[in-house]
Symmetry: C2
Subunit: 238 residues, 2 copies
């Protein structure tokens, strides 16, 4: 009987290519041993592998490509090499696989197949922003993207504010980056002046900016331009 | 006018003392430059600093000790050196400061004082467990500790299950480790058989065990002993 391979969950950087700032050394050693990778985007994954392990020969590597439509059926194919004894790495385009990113279907299937899952340490913009917000880190929710429709979006913002107060739970969410500036204006207009709002922009980059203040104070700030810059939004009760 | 120091948020290991597995190299360089630290426990912080930077002279280091009762008034004292131009490190006993740990008061005060906050990458047992659970990482909540009172606890478990289904949001929580085995039994008994349950125990350690399955299947498992072993619990809709 063959010993199964393991499924390594490998965090990618979040835009800063200096590996020493983002990724513990063991990820280099693990990547050097792997030939099979499940990735969001082959080009991005190859670039990351090159950054972490510049001397690794990439010619013989095999990539399986996943996205949010990847089914449990695909997962079966992607994990075949694990069943044959070859460990496989799961890498998303940025940050931690399966967190605000595809990958959880693969992991769920690996559990069914009794493949050992090995989560590795790396950057999560959700955790970095919450740490740096000064807001409630004992009780928090990540809610993904806001609705595109304006009325729906405003309704959701009010829902999050109510939840932050009623459940004493800070509320984290994201927006498609080219709509960030619009969202900031909507938030400042919609939320009550005592509610706290944090914007964490360009995390890990030299241009990183993290501003956390009451909405009342936000109304008096000169807003910086965060359009097209990756930003995490957090609100909390005042 | 003096340039203010920065407040570095420095993740600690989560029980595995092999720095290369847990902490990016830049944390070593940052710790080597700092003389002032805000910590949960001086002994634990000194041990961590020694692990990361064995040659750093610890004699001249100054420690401010924080806990969950640390007020915004204390925070003012702790951040005084930052205002005088000396950068300061915030380190909790395990994992990321401010996340399921004290520290957010300090960070909130630093924002008020216009001190630059520098969150650094390191292990978060919440993120590691969620990545490895195969559950919903697009929408999730961390709820902290369950109530001690049995009836209250059961009520809360049912509340989380309802929320996981209704809001399509995976629910993460923790228990005081010596009550872990009791909680597992309560969960298996209380939750519906289709609900999914993940237990992530001893994350980052050689004894790491991550099991994710439907409650129906959990009922047929030989339960491993997780008492007194740090464990993250996650439930999700089936």
């Amino acid at each position: 009987m063959i010993n199964k391979g393991e499924l390594f969950l490998i965090p990618n950087t979040i835009g800063n290519d200096i590996i020493d700032n983002n990724i513990p050394n063991n990820i280099k050693f693990i990547i050097e041993k792997l030939d099979y990778f499940i990735v969001e985007n082959q080009k991005a994954a190859r670039k990351f592998i090159k950054l972490v392990s510049p001397n690794k020969n990439q010619e013989k590597l095999v990539f399986f490509t996943l996205n949010k439509h990847t089914s449990l059926f695909d997962a079966d194919t992607f994990l075949k090499k694990c069943l044959e004894g070859e460990s496989t790495g799961l890498i998303s385009d940025a940050g931690c696989p399966s967190i605000a990113d595809p990958g959880s279907n693969i992991v769920a299937k690996a559990h069914q197949l009794k493949i050992k899952i090995r989560p590795l340490v790396g950057p999560s913009s959700i955790i970095l922003s919450l740490m740096a917000s000064g807001m409630n880190g004992q009780n928090f929710a990540f809610n993904g993207y806001l609705p595109i429709d304006k009325a729906q979006k405003i309704k959701k913002i009010k829902f999050f504010e109510k939840k932050a107060i009623k459940e004493n739970q800070s509320q984290i969410f994201i927006e498609t980056p080219y709509r960030n500036d619009t969202l900031v204006k909507d938030l400042i207009k919609t939320l009550s002046s005592t509610t706290k709002l944090c914007l964490a922009t360009d995390l890990s980059l030299d241009t990183e900016e993290i501003v956390s203040d009451s909405v009342g104070n936000w109304r008096n700030k000169n807003l910086i331009n965060i359009n097209k810059r990756p930003t995490i939004f957090i609100i909390d009760k005042g």
